[in-house]
């Protein structure tokens, strides 16, 4: 070993302190609030203006006996159980299609990409117009002579949740497809080309050659989309339905928000927050188990 590399080695020691500012920042603004959830869940705290008092597990019994909470669990389960199994396979197929560079794929990829640029509040405003009783969807149905299908999509208890799930898909499928296409393009093309020269059909090449090659990535994106759908639904619901009519579109995420800010019960809100967190962790383990790649078992 030359003297320079020894000197470089000496210099190298102790640089890790440069990570301290970012770790402190992360601890104060991210880890701290996350830990505080568990404390707030044990408090009677009627509004941010009042002093909280400790009441232990009382909030938990109250939450678990509340029909609104049951409805929120049901709606959240429906939301992820419909949105994710539809979104991921569809996005993979569309992503594979983009990857094969079909005619007009540039236009397709720009369009698929565009929901990723639009904020949740803008998405909310676009669909507020499209779905309002005098909006685009009902207008289109009228033009097609299907007036009887027209409804107040967001104010009808039978359609509110389904409509919100449809918006999740509108946003999520194309964006995820672009990500799959980018991933497939980063792989060596020979394997897929070889499969096609061997005469494997399109479907077989897609599912039996391309899919196993990106399975780890499919798993990562499934987890991310699951967490996104589960946790961030509050914003869109706040903008479009406020959880209603009744509790028909109240999800766990929205309940956390509504209990804290509209109904002024922070303890209740944070019990739901903890449930949401546990639900998220459980879902991640489930997705990991379902999409375990074979290479990983033997690796």
């Amino acid at each position: 070993m030359s003297s320079t590399s020894i000197r470089a080695g000496a210099r190298r020691r102790g640089v890790l302190w440069l990570t301290v500012p970012s770790l402190v920042w992360f601890a104060v603004f991210s880890v701290g609030p996350l830990a505080a959830m568990f404390v707030i869940a044990t408090l009677r705290w009627k509004s941010l203006l009042y002093e909280p008092t400790y009441i232990g597990v009382e909030n938990i019994t109250k939450v678990f006996a509340d029909p609104t909470f049951h409805a929120a669990i049901r709606n959240s389960v429906i939301q992820v159980a419909v949105a994710i199994p539809v979104m991921i396979p569809l996005a993979f197929m569309l992503g594979y299609h983009l990857y094969t560079k079909p005619r007009g794929y540039r236009v397709l990829s720009v369009l698929y990409f565009s929901p990723g640029l639009i904020s949740i509040s803008t998405t909310g405003m676009i669909f507020y117009g499209v779905l309002s009783p005098n909006g685009g969807v009902n207008g289109l149905l009228g033009t097609l002579g299907l007036d009887s299908w027209a409804t107040a999509w967001l104010a009808d208890p039978d359609t509110a949740l389904a409509t919100l799930i449809a918006i999740d898909l509108w946003r999520g499928v194309g964006w995820t497809a672009v990500l799959f296409a980018a991933r497939l393009a980063s792989l060596p093309a020979e394997v897929i080309e070889a499969a096609q020269i061997d005469g494997a059909g399109r479907l077989r090449t897609m599912w039996q050659v391309a899919f196993p090659m990106v399975k780890d990535y499919v798993r990562t994106l499934t987890m991310l989309q699951f967490l996104w759908t589960l946790f961030t639904s509050a914003a869109l619901i706040l903008l479009l339905t406020k959880g209603g009519p009744g509790t028909s579109s109240t999800t766990l995420s929205y309940l956390v928000y509504a209990k804290a800010f509209a109904q002024r019960d922070l303890g209740y809100s944070q019990v739901v927050g903890v449930v949401l967190l546990l639900f998220g962790i459980a879902g991640m383990f489930l997705i990991r188990a379902l999409l375990r790649s074979r290479e990983e078992d033997t690796r």
């Binding site: 991210s30 369009l111 698929y112 639009i118 676009i126 117009g129 685009g136 194309g174 080309e193 967490l227």
Partner: protein, 275 residues
């Protein structure tokens, strides 16, 4: 490298069908921005009979979009400077070490990447109140970098790992200290990474809604454009004005995208491709 070019009819139909589904609301938005409520309902997808350009002016004034755009720019720019200021030194340190402590720190950020920021919304509001920063833009400037740090540090570390050791050795031989190494070797080589992180996080900051709404709030002097836009909804919403406001809000993002769509697509896919 040539990708296979065989196309099934079904795939073609499906892909263009979905593209149409994506385009329709955007088209509807654009034409509605120039119409009255009555025309929006009676001729939803037709071009406007008379082009009501004043919808844009009305939206601009009603929601005070000018002030809101300035607030958004201010918050996003300060937050991105702070993010880079925190993440670049950390990434440099992590790229130069491969011991157990460095792996623990990397692991912390990897786990942090998975936590959706929404999870801790309410305790974050409490924190803002305790710091005396509730209802201010300053809290968002401090908070947004924290939510962006895990991904930013991880991405930048990956890019900084590509610095050739020989280059570091020769710079060290010339007597370069950490600061010189960082500024004149690591950052220039990691420039595509810095660009990606900047684009990705600027977009995230610009689009942030729920924290801005609950912490910065709806007061006209501090609210961001994402918070100002929904104030156009009322009991008697003028859908044309709402659409015009929405167009004005997404316009900066689309202009940026049309100027550098390739770079932007790279940056945003890098954010999720990270592994």
């Amino acid at each position: 490298m040539k990708a296979p070019r065989r196309t099934g009819l079904l795939a073609t139909l499906l892909s263009w069908g979905y593209a149409l589904l994506l385009a329709a609301p955007l088209y509807y938005l654009a034409v509605s921005a120039l119409k009255s409520n009555i025309e929006i309902f009676t001729r939803p997808f037709a071009l406007p009979a008379t082009w009501l350009w004043e919808n844009f002016g009305t939206a601009w004034l009603t929601a005070d979009l000018g002030g809101a755009l300035l607030n958004s720019v201010l918050v996003s720019v300060v937050a991105i400077v702070l993010t880079l200021g925190l993440a670049i030194p950390a990434a440099y340190a992590l790229a130069r070490h491969d011991n157990r402590l460095a792996r623990v720190i990397t692991g912390t950020f990897s786990a942090g990447f998975l936590i959706p920021p929404f999870a801790a919304l309410i305790p974050t509001v409490v924190l803002a109140i305790q710091l005396g920063l509730f209802g201010t833009r300053e809290f968002q400037m401090l908070f947004l970098p924290a939510s962006a740090l895990p991904l930013s540090v991880l991405l930048l570390t990956q890019f900084m790992r590509t610095v050739p050791p020989a280059l570091v050795e020769s710079a060290a031989l010339d007597g370069a200290g950490h600061w010189r190494l960082l500024v004149s070797v690591y950052v220039p080589i990691a420039r595509p990474g810095v660009a990606s992180v900047t684009i990705l996080q600027l977009l995230t900051f610009w689009n942030e809604y729920l924290f801005s709404l609950t912490i910065t709030g709806t007061a006209p002097d501090v609210r961001t454009v994402q918070v100002a836009l929904p104030t156009l909804i009322s009991d008697a919403t003028n859908l044309g004005v709402l659409a015009a406001g929405t167009v004005l809000t997404v316009l900066p993002v689309y202009v940026a995208y049309s100027l550098m769509n390739r770079r932007m697509q790279e940056a945003l896919t890098a954010g999720a491709v990270k592994e």
